[in-house]
Protein backbone atom coordinates (compact mmCIF):
# COMPACT_ATOMS: atom_id res chain seq x y z
CA UNK A 1 0.00 0.00 0.00
CA UNK A 2 2.68 2.44 1.08
CA UNK A 3 4.75 1.57 -2.00
CA UNK A 4 1.74 1.95 -4.27
CA UNK A 5 1.01 5.44 -2.97
CA UNK A 6 4.64 6.43 -3.37
CA UNK A 7 4.58 5.23 -6.97
CA UNK A 8 1.36 7.14 -7.64
CA UNK A 9 2.81 10.36 -6.23
CA UNK A 10 5.90 9.80 -8.37
CA UNK A 11 3.78 9.30 -11.47
CA UNK A 12 1.71 12.39 -10.72
CA UNK A 13 4.70 14.61 -10.04
CA UNK A 14 6.60 13.50 -13.16
CA UNK A 15 3.41 13.66 -15.25
CA UNK A 16 2.61 17.10 -13.85
CA UNK A 17 5.97 18.49 -14.96
CA UNK A 18 5.40 17.06 -18.45
CA UNK A 19 1.87 18.48 -18.40
CA UNK A 20 3.08 22.03 -17.63
CA UNK A 21 5.66 21.86 -20.41
CA UNK A 22 3.15 20.38 -22.84
CA UNK A 23 0.68 23.14 -21.93
CA UNK A 24 3.29 25.71 -22.94
CA UNK A 25 3.81 24.02 -26.30
CA UNK A 26 0.08 23.49 -26.84
CA UNK A 27 -0.93 27.08 -26.12
CA UNK A 28 1.52 28.36 -28.74
CA UNK A 29 0.44 25.70 -31.21
CA UNK A 30 -3.25 26.28 -30.53
CA UNK A 31 -3.06 30.02 -31.09
CA UNK A 32 -0.17 30.54 -33.50
CA UNK A 33 -0.13 27.20 -35.31
CA UNK A 34 3.45 26.04 -34.83
CA UNK A 35 5.51 24.04 -32.34
CA UNK A 36 8.23 26.09 -30.66
CA UNK A 37 11.23 23.79 -30.57
CA UNK A 38 13.18 26.27 -28.46
CA UNK A 39 10.69 25.74 -25.62
CA UNK A 40 13.15 23.50 -23.72
CA UNK A 41 15.76 26.26 -23.70
CA UNK A 42 13.33 28.51 -21.81
CA UNK A 43 13.49 25.89 -19.05
CA UNK A 44 17.27 25.95 -19.21
CA UNK A 45 17.29 29.75 -18.93
CA UNK A 46 15.13 29.48 -15.82
CA UNK A 47 17.63 26.96 -14.42
CA UNK A 48 20.65 29.20 -15.02
CA UNK A 49 18.87 32.24 -13.57
CA UNK A 50 18.07 30.16 -10.50
CA UNK A 51 21.71 29.07 -10.19
CA UNK A 52 23.16 32.58 -10.52
CA UNK A 53 20.49 34.17 -8.32
CA UNK A 54 21.33 31.70 -5.54
CA UNK A 55 25.05 32.08 -6.20
CA UNK A 56 24.84 35.80 -5.40
CA UNK A 57 23.06 34.90 -2.20
CA UNK A 58 19.40 35.56 -2.93
CA UNK A 59 16.99 33.51 -0.84
CA UNK A 60 15.66 30.33 -2.45
CA UNK A 61 12.04 31.40 -2.92
CA UNK A 62 13.01 34.78 -4.27
CA UNK A 63 15.38 33.10 -6.75
CA UNK A 64 12.54 30.85 -7.94
CA UNK A 65 10.27 33.81 -8.55
CA UNK A 66 12.98 35.62 -10.51
CA UNK A 67 13.73 32.43 -12.48
CA UNK A 68 10.12 31.91 -13.50
CA UNK A 69 9.62 35.56 -14.42
CA UNK A 70 12.84 35.56 -16.46
CA UNK A 71 11.58 32.48 -18.32
CA UNK A 72 8.46 34.43 -19.29
CA UNK A 73 10.56 37.42 -20.35
CA UNK A 74 12.92 35.18 -22.35
CA UNK A 75 9.97 33.65 -24.20
CA UNK A 76 8.59 37.09 -25.11
CA UNK A 77 12.02 38.22 -26.37
CA UNK A 78 12.35 34.96 -28.30
CA UNK A 79 9.03 35.60 -30.07
CA UNK A 80 10.00 39.19 -30.81
CA UNK A 81 13.37 38.32 -32.32
CA UNK A 82 12.87 34.95 -33.98
CA UNK A 83 9.19 34.40 -34.69
CA UNK A 84 7.49 37.76 -35.22
CA UNK A 85 9.52 38.64 -38.32
CA UNK A 86 8.28 35.35 -39.79
CA UNK A 87 4.61 36.05 -39.07
CA UNK A 88 2.39 34.61 -41.75
CA UNK A 89 5.21 32.42 -43.05
CA UNK A 90 4.86 28.70 -43.69
CA UNK A 91 4.70 26.79 -40.34
CA UNK A 92 7.71 24.82 -41.58
CA UNK A 93 9.81 28.01 -41.59
CA UNK A 94 8.73 28.71 -38.01
CA UNK A 95 9.60 25.16 -37.01
CA UNK A 96 13.08 25.54 -38.46
CA UNK A 97 13.49 28.95 -36.83
CA UNK A 98 12.71 27.21 -33.53
CA UNK A 99 15.35 24.53 -34.14
CA UNK A 100 17.90 27.18 -35.09
CA UNK A 101 17.13 29.20 -31.98
CA UNK A 102 17.37 26.11 -29.81
CA UNK A 103 20.77 25.21 -31.28
CA UNK A 104 22.08 28.76 -31.01
CA UNK A 105 21.02 29.02 -27.37
CA UNK A 106 22.55 25.66 -26.42
CA UNK A 107 25.86 26.62 -28.00
CA UNK A 108 25.75 30.03 -26.29
CA UNK A 109 25.15 28.38 -22.90
CA UNK A 110 28.05 26.02 -23.59
CA UNK A 111 30.44 28.80 -24.66
CA UNK A 112 29.53 31.47 -22.14
CA UNK A 113 28.40 29.49 -19.11
CA UNK A 114 30.58 26.40 -19.40
CA UNK A 115 30.13 22.71 -20.05
CA UNK A 116 29.94 21.49 -16.45
CA UNK A 117 26.48 21.09 -14.90
CA UNK A 118 25.86 23.71 -12.25
CA UNK A 119 24.39 22.50 -8.98
CA UNK A 120 21.17 24.09 -7.82
CA UNK A 121 20.95 22.99 -4.18
CA UNK A 122 17.47 22.54 -2.84
CA UNK A 123 16.84 23.51 0.79
CA UNK A 124 16.67 20.63 3.23
CA UNK A 125 12.96 20.84 3.87
CA UNK A 126 12.54 20.29 0.13
CA UNK A 127 14.43 17.03 -0.10
CA UNK A 128 12.91 15.29 2.91
CA UNK A 129 9.78 13.22 3.26
CA UNK A 130 6.57 13.96 5.06
CA UNK A 131 4.26 11.55 6.78
CA UNK A 132 0.67 11.66 5.58
CA UNK A 133 -1.67 9.15 7.23
CA UNK A 134 1.20 6.92 8.28
CA UNK A 135 2.79 6.92 4.82
CA UNK A 136 6.05 8.68 3.92
CA UNK A 137 5.93 10.74 0.74
CA UNK A 138 8.70 12.87 -0.78
CA UNK A 139 8.20 16.60 -0.20
CA UNK A 140 9.38 17.43 -3.72
CA UNK A 141 6.71 15.15 -5.17
CA UNK A 142 3.97 16.69 -3.07
CA UNK A 143 5.07 20.21 -3.97
CA UNK A 144 5.29 19.29 -7.66
CA UNK A 145 1.75 17.96 -7.68
CA UNK A 146 0.42 20.96 -5.78
CA UNK A 147 2.22 23.43 -8.05
CA UNK A 148 0.91 21.66 -11.16
CA UNK A 149 -2.66 21.76 -9.89
CA UNK A 150 -2.41 25.42 -8.93
CA UNK A 151 -0.81 26.38 -12.27
CA UNK A 152 -3.40 24.51 -14.36
CA UNK A 153 -6.22 25.95 -12.27
CA UNK A 154 -4.83 29.50 -12.51
CA UNK A 155 -4.36 29.21 -16.28
CA UNK A 156 -7.92 27.96 -16.66
CA UNK A 157 -9.25 30.84 -14.60
CA UNK A 158 -7.17 33.35 -16.56
CA UNK A 159 -8.40 32.04 -19.93
CA UNK A 160 -12.05 31.86 -18.93
CA UNK A 161 -12.45 34.93 -16.73
CA UNK A 162 -10.19 37.72 -17.97
CA UNK A 163 -10.75 39.78 -21.09
CA UNK A 164 -7.27 39.04 -22.37
CA UNK A 165 -7.68 35.32 -21.67
CA UNK A 166 -10.96 35.22 -23.60
CA UNK A 167 -9.24 37.06 -26.46
CA UNK A 168 -6.58 34.35 -26.51
CA UNK A 169 -9.24 31.63 -26.70
CA UNK A 170 -10.93 33.52 -29.54
CA UNK A 171 -7.61 33.82 -31.37
CA UNK A 172 -7.04 30.08 -30.89
CA UNK A 173 -10.36 29.34 -32.55
CA UNK A 174 -10.17 31.83 -35.41
CA UNK A 175 -7.22 34.20 -35.56
CA UNK A 176 -8.35 36.48 -38.38
CA UNK A 177 -11.82 36.93 -36.89
CA UNK A 178 -10.22 37.78 -33.55
CA UNK A 179 -8.34 40.55 -35.36
CA UNK A 180 -11.62 41.69 -36.93
CA UNK A 181 -12.92 42.24 -33.38
CA UNK A 182 -10.02 44.64 -32.91
CA UNK A 183 -7.86 42.32 -30.81
CA UNK A 184 -4.26 43.36 -31.42
CA UNK A 185 -2.33 40.58 -33.11
CA UNK A 186 0.96 41.62 -31.50
CA UNK A 187 -0.57 41.48 -28.02
CA UNK A 188 -1.78 37.95 -28.77
CA UNK A 189 1.70 36.92 -29.91
CA UNK A 190 3.47 38.39 -26.86
CA UNK A 191 0.82 37.21 -24.41
CA UNK A 192 0.86 33.66 -25.74
CA UNK A 193 4.62 33.44 -25.44
CA UNK A 194 4.63 35.02 -21.99
CA UNK A 195 2.23 32.36 -20.68
CA UNK A 196 4.13 29.62 -22.45
CA UNK A 197 7.40 30.89 -20.94
CA UNK A 198 6.01 31.16 -17.40
CA UNK A 199 4.75 27.57 -17.63
CA UNK A 200 8.16 26.44 -18.91
CA UNK A 201 9.79 28.30 -16.02
CA UNK A 202 7.60 26.57 -13.43
CA UNK A 203 8.26 23.21 -15.11
CA UNK A 204 11.98 24.05 -15.09
CA UNK A 205 11.96 24.60 -11.33
CA UNK A 206 10.14 21.28 -10.77
CA UNK A 207 12.55 19.48 -13.11
CA UNK A 208 15.53 20.93 -11.22
CA UNK A 209 14.01 20.03 -7.88
CA UNK A 210 14.21 16.37 -8.89
CA UNK A 211 17.61 16.48 -10.58
CA UNK A 212 19.55 19.15 -8.73
CA UNK A 213 21.69 20.65 -11.49
CA UNK A 214 21.41 22.71 -14.66
CA UNK A 215 23.44 22.12 -17.83
CA UNK A 216 23.28 23.53 -21.34
CA UNK A 217 21.38 20.50 -22.66
CA UNK A 218 18.87 20.44 -19.81
CA UNK A 219 15.93 21.49 -21.99
CA UNK A 220 16.29 18.83 -24.65
CA UNK A 221 14.79 15.72 -23.02
CA UNK A 222 11.83 17.48 -21.41
CA UNK A 223 11.03 19.19 -24.73
CA UNK A 224 10.81 15.81 -26.44
CA UNK A 225 8.60 14.48 -23.63
CA UNK A 226 6.35 17.53 -23.83
CA UNK A 227 6.16 17.20 -27.62
CA UNK A 228 5.08 13.57 -27.24
CA UNK A 229 2.51 14.61 -24.63
CA UNK A 230 0.96 17.26 -26.90
CA UNK A 231 0.68 14.80 -29.78
CA UNK A 232 -0.92 12.14 -27.59
CA UNK A 233 -3.23 14.72 -26.04
CA UNK A 234 -4.26 16.20 -29.38
CA UNK A 235 -2.31 19.04 -30.98
CA UNK A 236 -3.44 22.42 -29.73
CA UNK A 237 -5.82 21.13 -27.07
CA UNK A 238 -4.90 22.42 -23.62
CA UNK A 239 -6.88 19.76 -21.79
CA UNK A 240 -5.28 17.20 -24.10
CA UNK A 241 -1.78 18.46 -23.25
CA UNK A 242 -2.42 17.99 -19.54
CA UNK A 243 -3.89 14.51 -20.08
CA UNK A 244 -1.03 13.58 -22.41
CA UNK A 245 1.53 14.75 -19.86
CA UNK A 246 0.02 12.71 -17.05
CA UNK A 247 -0.42 9.64 -19.29
CA UNK A 248 3.24 9.82 -20.32
CA UNK A 249 4.36 10.24 -16.71
CA UNK A 250 2.18 7.35 -15.53
CA UNK A 251 3.41 4.98 -18.25
CA UNK A 252 7.04 5.81 -17.47
CA UNK A 253 6.58 5.03 -13.78
CA UNK A 254 4.63 1.84 -14.52
CA UNK A 255 7.39 0.45 -16.72
CA UNK A 256 10.03 1.70 -14.32
CA UNK A 257 8.41 -0.60 -11.75
CA UNK A 258 7.61 -3.69 -13.79
CA UNK A 259 10.74 -3.92 -15.92
CA UNK A 260 13.65 -5.89 -14.41
CA UNK A 261 16.59 -3.59 -13.78
CA UNK A 262 18.77 -5.01 -16.60
CA UNK A 263 16.00 -4.17 -19.09
CA UNK A 264 15.28 -0.67 -17.81
CA UNK A 265 17.00 0.85 -20.85
CA UNK A 266 14.02 -0.38 -22.87
CA UNK A 267 11.62 1.71 -20.79
CA UNK A 268 11.33 4.65 -23.19
CA UNK A 269 10.91 2.55 -26.35
CA UNK A 270 8.18 0.50 -24.68
CA UNK A 271 6.38 3.66 -23.49
CA UNK A 272 6.57 5.07 -27.02
CA UNK A 273 5.23 1.81 -28.39
CA UNK A 274 2.17 2.16 -26.15
CA UNK A 275 1.63 5.75 -27.18
CA UNK A 276 1.84 4.81 -30.87
CA UNK A 277 -0.86 2.25 -30.13
CA UNK A 278 -3.01 5.07 -28.71
CA UNK A 279 -2.49 7.04 -31.92
CA UNK A 280 -3.54 4.04 -34.04
CA UNK A 281 -6.96 4.19 -32.40
CA UNK A 282 -7.16 7.98 -32.08
CA UNK A 283 -4.96 9.47 -34.81
CA UNK A 284 -5.80 13.02 -33.77
CA UNK A 285 -4.86 12.43 -30.14
CA UNK A 286 -7.03 12.05 -27.06
CA UNK A 287 -8.84 15.34 -27.56
CA UNK A 288 -9.32 16.71 -31.04
CA UNK A 289 -10.18 20.32 -31.58
CA UNK A 290 -11.59 21.79 -34.74
CA UNK A 291 -9.65 24.81 -35.83
CA UNK A 292 -10.21 27.46 -38.45
CA UNK A 293 -7.21 28.08 -40.66
CA UNK A 294 -5.08 31.04 -39.71
CA UNK A 295 -4.61 33.79 -42.21
Amino acid sequence: MEIAIQYITNALSVGGTYALLALGLAIVFGILGFINFAHGEIMTICGYVLFYAMAIGLPFWFAIIIGVIMAGVAAVIMERIAFRPLRGANPMSLLIAGFALSGALQISFLVFLGERPKPVPMPEYFTGAIKIGGIYIGVVQVISIAVTIVAVFALNLFLKRTKFGISLLAAAEDFSIARLMGIRANAIFSGTFAISGLLAGIAGVLWLAQRGSVSYTMGFTPLIKAFIATIIGGMGSLTGAVLGGFLLGALEIVFQIILPSEQLIFRDPIVLFFLIAVLLFRPGGLIQEKKESMR
Partner: protein
Protein backbone atom coordinates in the same frame (compact mmCIF):
# COMPACT_ATOMS: atom_id res chain seq x y z
CA UNK B 1 -17.59 58.07 -46.13
CA UNK B 2 -15.76 55.27 -47.93
CA UNK B 3 -14.17 55.87 -51.27
CA UNK B 4 -12.32 53.31 -53.28
CA UNK B 5 -10.15 54.37 -56.19
CA UNK B 6 -8.49 52.09 -58.78
CA UNK B 7 -8.36 49.26 -56.28
CA UNK B 8 -6.34 46.23 -57.37
CA UNK B 9 -5.83 43.01 -55.39
CA UNK B 10 -3.44 40.30 -56.48
CA UNK B 11 -2.93 36.77 -55.15
CA UNK B 12 0.42 35.70 -56.60
CA UNK B 13 0.07 35.97 -60.36
CA UNK B 14 -3.70 36.18 -60.32
CA UNK B 15 -5.56 39.47 -60.40
CA UNK B 16 -8.54 39.05 -58.08
CA UNK B 17 -9.70 42.65 -58.44
CA UNK B 18 -8.73 45.19 -61.13
CA UNK B 19 -9.24 48.95 -61.03
CA UNK B 20 -12.43 49.08 -59.03
CA UNK B 21 -13.91 52.47 -58.11
CA UNK B 22 -16.86 53.04 -55.86
CA UNK B 23 -18.16 55.16 -53.01
CA UNK B 24 -20.35 54.63 -50.00
CA UNK B 25 -21.95 57.75 -48.54
CA UNK B 26 -23.14 58.35 -45.01
CA UNK B 27 -26.39 56.54 -44.22
CA UNK B 28 -26.53 54.52 -47.43
CA UNK B 29 -26.88 50.86 -48.22
CA UNK B 30 -24.54 50.05 -51.08
CA UNK B 31 -24.50 46.62 -52.57
CA UNK B 32 -21.75 44.74 -54.41
CA UNK B 33 -23.18 42.04 -56.65
CA UNK B 34 -21.40 39.32 -58.54
CA UNK B 35 -20.96 35.59 -59.02
CA UNK B 36 -18.66 33.40 -56.93
CA UNK B 37 -15.04 34.43 -57.35
CA UNK B 38 -15.89 37.83 -58.84
CA UNK B 39 -13.81 39.58 -56.16
CA UNK B 40 -16.47 40.83 -53.75
CA UNK B 41 -15.10 39.17 -50.62
CA UNK B 42 -11.55 40.14 -51.62
CA UNK B 43 -12.70 43.76 -51.78
CA UNK B 44 -14.18 43.58 -48.28
CA UNK B 45 -11.03 41.87 -46.95
CA UNK B 46 -8.91 44.61 -48.50
CA UNK B 47 -11.00 47.30 -46.79
CA UNK B 48 -10.42 45.52 -43.45
CA UNK B 49 -6.69 45.15 -44.12
CA UNK B 50 -6.88 41.36 -44.15
CA UNK B 51 -5.39 41.18 -47.65
CA UNK B 52 -2.82 43.64 -49.01
CA UNK B 53 -3.84 45.97 -51.82
CA UNK B 54 -1.71 45.83 -54.98
CA UNK B 55 -2.63 49.28 -56.25
CA UNK B 56 -5.14 52.06 -55.78
CA UNK B 57 -6.43 53.47 -52.52
CA UNK B 58 -9.11 52.98 -49.91
CA UNK B 59 -10.14 56.08 -47.99
CA UNK B 60 -12.43 56.14 -44.97
CA UNK B 61 -13.62 59.54 -43.70
CA UNK B 62 -10.62 61.10 -45.41
CA UNK B 63 -8.04 58.70 -43.95
CA UNK B 64 -6.07 56.37 -46.21
CA UNK B 65 -6.44 52.80 -44.93
CA UNK B 66 -3.64 51.40 -47.11
CA UNK B 67 -1.20 49.31 -45.08
CA UNK B 68 -3.06 49.88 -41.81
CA UNK B 69 -3.37 46.77 -39.60
CA UNK B 70 -6.83 45.25 -39.23
CA UNK B 71 -7.15 46.05 -35.53
CA UNK B 72 -6.56 49.75 -36.25
CA UNK B 73 -9.13 49.80 -39.06
CA UNK B 74 -11.68 48.31 -36.65
CA UNK B 75 -10.94 51.16 -34.26
CA UNK B 76 -11.57 53.64 -37.08
CA UNK B 77 -15.18 52.44 -36.96
CA UNK B 78 -15.55 49.78 -39.63
CA UNK B 79 -16.86 46.34 -38.77
CA UNK B 80 -17.13 43.27 -40.99
CA UNK B 81 -19.67 40.50 -40.56
CA UNK B 82 -17.79 37.76 -42.36
CA UNK B 83 -19.13 35.21 -44.77
CA UNK B 84 -20.34 32.11 -42.96
CA UNK B 85 -20.79 34.22 -39.77
CA UNK B 86 -17.61 32.80 -38.17
CA UNK B 87 -18.82 33.23 -34.60
CA UNK B 88 -16.56 31.80 -31.89
CA UNK B 89 -18.39 28.50 -31.57
CA UNK B 90 -16.42 27.26 -28.54
CA UNK B 91 -17.22 30.38 -26.52
CA UNK B 92 -20.53 31.37 -24.96
CA UNK B 93 -22.90 33.82 -26.61
CA UNK B 94 -22.07 36.44 -24.00
CA UNK B 95 -18.32 36.05 -24.51
CA UNK B 96 -18.79 36.48 -28.26
CA UNK B 97 -20.50 39.80 -27.55
CA UNK B 98 -17.80 40.78 -25.08
CA UNK B 99 -15.16 40.19 -27.77
CA UNK B 100 -17.17 42.26 -30.23
CA UNK B 101 -16.93 45.13 -27.78
CA UNK B 102 -13.23 44.75 -27.05
CA UNK B 103 -12.48 48.16 -28.61
CA UNK B 104 -15.05 50.14 -26.59
CA UNK B 105 -14.79 51.50 -23.04
CA UNK B 106 -15.17 48.87 -20.31
CA UNK B 107 -18.06 50.80 -18.74
CA UNK B 108 -19.95 50.73 -22.03
CA UNK B 109 -19.64 47.00 -22.64
CA UNK B 110 -22.39 45.89 -20.25
CA UNK B 111 -24.86 48.49 -21.49
CA UNK B 112 -24.11 47.56 -25.10
CA UNK B 113 -24.63 43.86 -24.30
CA UNK B 114 -27.96 44.85 -22.70
CA UNK B 115 -28.87 46.77 -25.85
CA UNK B 116 -28.08 43.74 -28.01
CA UNK B 117 -30.20 41.51 -25.76
CA UNK B 118 -33.19 43.81 -26.09
CA UNK B 119 -32.68 43.90 -29.85
CA UNK B 120 -32.31 40.11 -30.08
CA UNK B 121 -34.13 38.65 -27.05
CA UNK B 122 -33.33 35.07 -28.11
CA UNK B 123 -29.63 35.79 -27.52
CA UNK B 124 -30.39 36.72 -23.93
CA UNK B 125 -32.13 33.38 -23.40
CA UNK B 126 -29.07 31.64 -24.78
CA UNK B 127 -26.44 33.91 -23.20
CA UNK B 128 -24.50 31.14 -21.44
CA UNK B 129 -24.84 28.58 -24.21
CA UNK B 130 -21.87 27.82 -26.46
CA UNK B 131 -22.34 29.80 -29.65
CA UNK B 132 -21.74 26.68 -31.75
CA UNK B 133 -25.00 25.19 -30.44
CA UNK B 134 -27.15 28.02 -31.86
CA UNK B 135 -29.28 27.54 -34.97
CA UNK B 136 -28.22 29.18 -38.24
CA UNK B 137 -30.60 32.11 -37.79
CA UNK B 138 -29.51 32.67 -34.19
CA UNK B 139 -25.86 32.54 -35.25
CA UNK B 140 -26.58 35.21 -37.83
CA UNK B 141 -28.14 37.40 -35.13
CA UNK B 142 -25.11 36.83 -32.92
CA UNK B 143 -22.76 37.75 -35.78
CA UNK B 144 -24.66 41.00 -36.36
CA UNK B 145 -24.86 41.78 -32.64
CA UNK B 146 -21.15 41.03 -32.20
CA UNK B 147 -20.32 43.51 -34.94
CA UNK B 148 -22.64 46.19 -33.58
CA UNK B 149 -20.95 45.91 -30.17
CA UNK B 150 -18.03 48.00 -31.45
CA UNK B 151 -20.45 50.86 -32.31
CA UNK B 152 -19.23 50.92 -35.92
CA UNK B 153 -19.74 53.90 -38.19
CA UNK B 154 -19.93 51.51 -41.10
CA UNK B 155 -20.96 47.86 -41.35
CA UNK B 156 -19.65 45.52 -44.02
CA UNK B 157 -21.79 42.42 -44.51
CA UNK B 158 -20.51 39.49 -46.54
CA UNK B 159 -23.38 37.33 -47.84
CA UNK B 160 -25.49 37.49 -44.69
CA UNK B 161 -28.32 35.47 -46.25
CA UNK B 162 -26.10 32.60 -47.38
CA UNK B 163 -27.29 29.31 -45.90
CA UNK B 164 -30.37 30.76 -44.20
CA UNK B 165 -33.87 29.32 -44.58
CA UNK B 166 -36.07 31.41 -46.95
CA UNK B 167 -38.11 32.86 -44.11
CA UNK B 168 -34.96 33.94 -42.32
CA UNK B 169 -33.59 35.50 -45.52
CA UNK B 170 -36.55 37.85 -45.51
CA UNK B 171 -36.14 38.83 -41.87
CA UNK B 172 -32.44 39.27 -42.50
CA UNK B 173 -33.12 41.85 -45.23
CA UNK B 174 -35.66 43.51 -42.91
CA UNK B 175 -32.93 43.74 -40.29
CA UNK B 176 -30.54 45.37 -42.78
CA UNK B 177 -33.20 47.97 -43.66
CA UNK B 178 -33.85 48.61 -39.98
CA UNK B 179 -30.13 49.12 -39.34
CA UNK B 180 -30.01 51.65 -42.17
CA UNK B 181 -33.09 53.46 -40.84
CA UNK B 182 -31.30 53.75 -37.50
CA UNK B 183 -28.57 55.68 -39.29
CA UNK B 184 -26.02 52.96 -40.01
CA UNK B 185 -24.02 52.94 -43.22
CA UNK B 186 -23.89 49.51 -44.82
CA UNK B 187 -21.81 47.94 -47.56
CA UNK B 188 -23.52 44.70 -48.48
CA UNK B 189 -22.17 41.85 -50.57
CA UNK B 190 -24.89 39.52 -51.79
CA UNK B 191 -25.75 36.84 -54.28
CA UNK B 192 -29.47 37.27 -53.64
CA UNK B 193 -29.69 39.94 -56.34
CA UNK B 194 -33.43 40.37 -56.39
CA UNK B 195 -33.82 41.11 -52.68
CA UNK B 196 -30.66 43.22 -52.51
CA UNK B 197 -31.65 45.52 -55.36
CA UNK B 198 -34.96 46.16 -53.63
CA UNK B 199 -33.38 47.56 -50.48
CA UNK B 200 -30.15 49.09 -51.73
CA UNK B 201 -29.56 52.74 -52.52
CA UNK B 202 -26.90 51.95 -55.09
CA UNK B 203 -25.33 48.80 -56.42
CA UNK B 204 -22.17 47.89 -58.27
CA UNK B 205 -21.86 44.75 -60.35
CA UNK B 206 -18.51 42.97 -60.42
CA UNK B 207 -17.51 40.33 -62.97
CA UNK B 208 -14.07 38.71 -62.95
CA UNK B 209 -12.65 41.40 -60.73
CA UNK B 210 -13.92 44.36 -62.75
CA UNK B 211 -16.86 46.70 -62.36
CA UNK B 212 -19.26 46.16 -65.23
CA UNK B 213 -22.33 48.11 -64.18
CA UNK B 214 -23.55 50.44 -61.50
CA UNK B 215 -26.62 52.45 -60.65
CA UNK B 216 -29.45 52.80 -58.19
CA UNK B 217 -31.29 49.65 -57.16
CA UNK B 218 -34.32 50.43 -59.27
CA UNK B 219 -32.23 51.39 -62.33
CA UNK B 220 -30.42 48.09 -62.24
CA UNK B 221 -33.67 46.19 -61.74
CA UNK B 222 -34.84 47.69 -65.00
CA UNK B 223 -31.65 47.14 -66.99
CA UNK B 224 -31.67 44.31 -69.53
CA UNK B 225 -28.14 43.29 -68.63
CA UNK B 226 -29.05 42.69 -65.00
CA UNK B 227 -32.39 41.12 -65.83
CA UNK B 228 -30.75 38.64 -68.21
CA UNK B 229 -27.59 37.80 -66.34
CA UNK B 230 -28.60 38.12 -62.69
CA UNK B 231 -32.34 37.90 -62.34
CA UNK B 232 -32.87 35.21 -64.98
CA UNK B 233 -35.66 37.15 -66.63
CA UNK B 234 -35.69 37.07 -70.45
CA UNK B 235 -38.01 39.55 -72.07
CA UNK B 236 -39.84 38.27 -75.10
CA UNK B 237 -39.89 41.19 -77.48
Amino acid sequence: MLSIRNLGIRYGQIDAVRNINFDVNDGEIVCLIGANGAGKTSTLCAIMGLVPIANGSIEFSGTDLGGMPTEKIVRMGISLIPEGRRIFSRLSVEKNLLLGGITIQDDDVQSMIGEMYSRFPILKERCNQLAGTLSGGEQQMLAVARSLMSKPKMLLMDEPSLGLAPMLVKSNFDLICRLRDEGNTILLVEQNVNQSLRITDRAYIIENGELVASGSGSELMESDFVRNSYLGITDSK
